[in-house]
């Protein structure tokens, strides 16, 4: 019976229609798996928006759902960047919010009432399922093996490099952008292969959607022209290339200009110029191609020299003229930092201060891609062996993507798709060679050799593939077994990484109790809830920019600066207020109508992401604007150490940030034994005193501390003397203030 069923099963696997059914089922399962593996955080914590940026996106989505599309488009937000406000509708990428808004409306129309929060939380996992399918389609354009596509879909679905930005709750632009990236590439390959205007138009439409969703669209804007250019250099110009590229460029550029935030950038900035240049270049090539087919070659040469020389001189002149007249803007700072990793640190501290803009450490590649990082070069090599137009694309993408992933941690995300595709090609080639059951016979080999001899006469060596069969059963079993084990380890690694590294909401922290049970630390939400319930509706909160979006989203209070770091001076103002003495900070806070100041302090719990650790960036950014008032050197001890204990410098001890962090901290401990557990520093016996601020709220684990800015003194004294008076230091103050006595004359 068992033999019969096996045979039936084998027969089922052979039929063509059953295969496609199987393929669909496997794809569906892969999509399901990629969704499921992203739900750790929902199960472990709750359905909550993560981190920082997603809170803004969530808030914007709520605004969109509540006020409709047109209001959203013209949204001026006066509750951020106080007192400047922000033209939010014109300075965001609306794709994400519009997508989830549309899904929400669609579900409502189907009479499925869902909370918009749940739509937002689960959007990223849902789109990751689509990404897996897009990766399948893209890979299928590369090889004839269907298994490669399925493997690529699987890799794309569970590789940690992509999961890191798409777990449930990380409601960020990348959540949908990676799907759009992969799908746009698929459409581009399709358009190029068929030379079809329609596919080119689809590619342009999805490119437009991508532009609407993520600033990383520049990656496509640079990669497609580069691919076209490499093809031309390889002598592979074809009419198909002309049709697909020009259709994509003409429609795609127009589509991208529809987004207010992008606007005229595609015709003005240098990042977009390669695409325009290749567009013009292809027009020339098409014309030359036509002329070449029309006239004899001798004449064509004369024509070519005159024509090409004239065009070259003209365009060079135009470029020089445009650049010198300032029509084309120079490269932006973020772009420079892609070429010179040290650039941002020197010139733009605000860019360098963001952790995801740091260069990638090499273990991160293994951590995020595991097995794939080894098979990636193999896949690229296999692409070299076939080298059709689409394989050139993978090669160009691989080189380009690897470089950028090495420069910036966050761009690991753009490398991941090509690694998955190339890795899948490599592994499926191996498996296809070793899984074949029949051993090649002598005859086969002779035929192959004969073919090789014939082929070597007419063509290049590399163009002929030697037909090699695997003879030994053992080598097959060994190889297939090893690959299977590697793949299993890969799956385990991915699950482990997802579960341990990427599933923390970072709004809610988890720790282990001594007995192994989980303890949830919920200080952030406790503090934001306090703000929401105990402060005026329009109380302005000053904090470092990292927390701006969260305060706006969770506490619904106006903030001075937030994560949309468009105004460096304003951020530097906050940095200056934090890093100066109270006498300097207080007028700044009064001028900005600050009611409350919020700091994050990890000294009690040993939480590393607190403000004292970020403090040097505040100092640096403030120093960039006021070099003679704030100096980074003054925060280091003479021996060059950054200390918070008794040996900290006077500037450090007097800075507002230090005082707010450690105010009253030593009261928690027996006298003289206050210890900062984050920095392992014993604090001085007498804690700092505050005269212009009142402690308003401190959360359970002291992670968030909120201070109220005092109003002006009733009797017109300055705050320091007022505090001193209350402490009973009347005499000392009096002498100090009055100075040497003078005789009354009047």
């Amino acid at each position: 019976m068992s033999a019969e069923t096996l045979e039936i099963l084998a027969d089922v696997g052979k039929g063509k229609s059953t295969r496609s059914v199987l393929r669909v089922i496997i794809l569906a399962l892969i999509a399901g798996a990629s969704i499921a593996s992203r739900l750790f955080s929902v199960i472990r914590f709750e359905s909550i928006i993560h981190e920082f940026d997603p809170w803004f996106n969530f808030r914007a989505t709520k605004y969109l759902v509540a006020n409709g599309f047109y209001n959203f488009w013209d949204w001026f937000d006066d509750r951020t960047w106080h007192p400047l406000g922000r033209v939010t509708g014109g300075t965001l990428y609306p794709g994400l919010m519009v997508t989830s808004g549309a899904i929400w409306h669609a579900l409502r129309a189907l009479t499925i009432p869902v909370d918009i929060r749940n739509v937002c939380v689960l959007l990223a996992p849902a789109f990751s399922g689509l990404t897996a399918i897009a990766a399948y389609l893209l890979t299928n354009e590369m090889t004839t093996y269907n298994s490669a596509g399925l493997l690529a879909a699987l890799f794309m679905g569970i590789t940690p490099g992509y999961i890191s930005r798409s777990v449930a709750g990380s409601y960020d632009n990348e959540a949908i952008a990676i799907f759009l990236l992969v799908f746009t590439f698929y459409l581009w390959i399709k358009a190029l292969k068929q030379g079809s205007m329609l596919w080119g138009a689809f590619c342009a439409l999805f490119y437009g959607y991508m532009v609407a969703s993520w600033g990383g669209y520049a990656f496509i804007t640079c990669l497609l022209p580069l691919h076209a250019f490499v093809l031309v250099l390889m002598g592979r110009y074809s009419t198909r290339l002309y049709v697909s590229y020009t259709t994509w460029y003409a429609l795609g550029t127009l589509a991208s200009m529809q987004i207010p935030f992008v606007g005229f950038l595609p015709v003005k900035t240098s990042e977009h110029m390669p695409a325009l240049g290749i567009f013009g270049f292809l027009q020339l090539l098409a014309f030359l191609d036509y002329v070449r087919s029309a006239i004899p070659s001798r004449q064509f040469q004369t024509f070519l020299w005159l024509f090409a020389g004239g065009i070259f001189a003209l365009s060079l002149g135009a470029l020089v003229l445009a650049t010198s007249a300032g029509v084309i803007a120079p490269w932006s700072g973020r772009f420079y930092s892609l070429w010179d990793t040290g650039y941002a640190k020197i010139h733009i501290p605000i860019i360098a201060s963001v952790s995801e803009h740091q260069p990638t450490a090499w273990p991160a590649f293994f951590f995020d891609l595991n097995l794939l990082i080894f098979v990636f070069p193999v896949g690229v090599y296999l692409c070299f062996q076939e080298l059709a137009d689409e394989h050139v694309f993978i090669i160009v993408y691989a080189v380009f993507g690897s470089y950028f992933a090495g420069v910036m941690v966050r761009l690991m995300l753009t490398l991941t798709p090509v690694v998955c595709v190339a890795g899948a090609i490599a592994i499926s080639t191996i498996l296809n060679n070793y899984l074949v059951a029949k051993t090649p016979t002598e005859e086969d080999q002779q035929v192959a050799e004969a073919a090789e001899k014939k082929g070597s006469k007419s063509g290049l060596k590399s163009a002929n593939k030697p037909v090699v069969g695997i003879y030994g059963l053992w080598s097959k079993i060994l190889m297939v077994g090893a690959m299977a084990i590697y793949l299993l380890i890969f799956v385990m690694h991915c699950t482990w990484v997802t579960s341990n590294a990427y599933s923390s909401p970072s709004v809610v922290l988890a720790s282990r109790m001594p007995d192994g049970s989980q303890h949830i630390i919920d200080d952030y939400r406790e503090a934001y809830q306090w703000l929401r319930q105990n402060t005026k509706e329009d109380a302005k909160i000053m904090s470092w920019w990292d927390y701006g979006y969260q305060i706006g989203g969770m506490a619904d209070r106006p903030t001075l600066v937030d994560n949309n770091t468009w105004n460096n001076t304003h951020i530097a103002t906050v940095g200056k207020a934090m890093s100066s003495r109270e006498e300097v900070s207080y007028p700044i806070m009064r001028q900005h109508e600050v009611d409350y100041v919020l700091v994050v302090f990890g000294g009690l719990l040993g939480y590393s992401g607190d403000d004292i650790n970020k403090f040097l960036w505040m100092v640096r950014i403030a120093e960039g604007i006021w070099p003679d008032e704030v100096s980074e050197r003054a925060f280091f001890t003479p021996r060059g150490e950054y200390r918070v204990d008794g040996e900290a410098t006077e500037t450090m001890k007097n800075s507002l940030m230090y005082k707010m962090s450690y105010y009253n901290f030593n009261n928690l401990f027996p006298p003289g034994q206050a210890v900062d557990r984050m920095r392992q520093a014993r604090l001085p016996e007498v804690g700092p005193s505050l005269s212009t601020l009142d402690e308003a709220f401190t959360s359970e684990n002291w992670i968030i501390r909120i201070y109220k800015v005092k109003d002006l003194d009733n009797v017109g004294r300055d705050h320091i003397s007022a505090t001193a008076f209350e402490k009973g230091l009347k005499k000392k103050k009096a002498t100090k203030k009055k100075g040497p006595r003078t005789l009354r004359v009047d």
Partner: protein
């Protein structure tokens, strides 16, 4: 590299060296047998001097250095006669439309340079409408030309026209939306 690959692929086609000396018929036939990769040496102006053509080029140059203008005339007359003889009437119509688009585009650009680009939205959408329509029409022309049949196995002339209409609709939708 491009040169090498090209030789390898078409064993039958004449060597580039001979191409330079042979007559019209050979060149035109040498382009047709290889649809996906039309002779790659030609479209790259930069690669010329280093390729095997260099000997022929220099000799041609020395002989043609004095009567450049004359040979240029010959080129142009050849081109026009080829065009008039070998182009179907329908394609000529398409070409007339393309010429019209070029004229309109140039007019807009000249206006922008002379009178300023104040409603930049309007200029940009007008100009990109002409450019976009031009490349779409060029694509249509390429796809419907008999000689390029082998390049587009999946695209029949009817399909090409349908694609053209759809793409033009998308283009003009974006333009109208952008014009403010």
């Amino acid at each position: 590299m491009a040169q090498k690959r090209n030789n390898a692929n078409r064993g039958v086609s004449p060597n580039p060296k001979t191409t330079a000396t042979t007559s019209t018929t050979t060149t035109s036939s040498s382009t047709t047998p290889l649809p996906p990769i039309p002779n790659p040496s030609a479209p790259i102006p930069g690669s010329r001097p280093t390729s095997s053509h260099s000997a022929a080029t220099t000799s041609a140059k020395t002989s043609a250095s004095a009567p450049v203008a004359q040979s240029w005339d010959k080129v142009v007359s050849n081109l026009t006669s080829h065009y008039q003889k070998n182009t179907p009437q329908r394609t000529k119509l398409v070409d007339a439309f393309m010429a019209f688009l070029v004229v309109v585009g140039v007019l807009q650009f000249v206006y922008c340079v002379l009178a300023g680009n104040y409603p930049f939205n309007a200029f940009l959408s007008g100009f990109s409408a002409t450019v976009g329509q031009f490349v779409l029409t060029a694509s249509l022309r390429i796809q419907t030309t008999e000689g390029n049949k082998k390049d587009f196995p999946a695209v029949s002339p009817e399909r090409a026209f349908a694609d053209y209409v759809v793409c033009s609709l998308i283009l003009h939708f974006f333009c109208v939306n952008f014009i403010n």
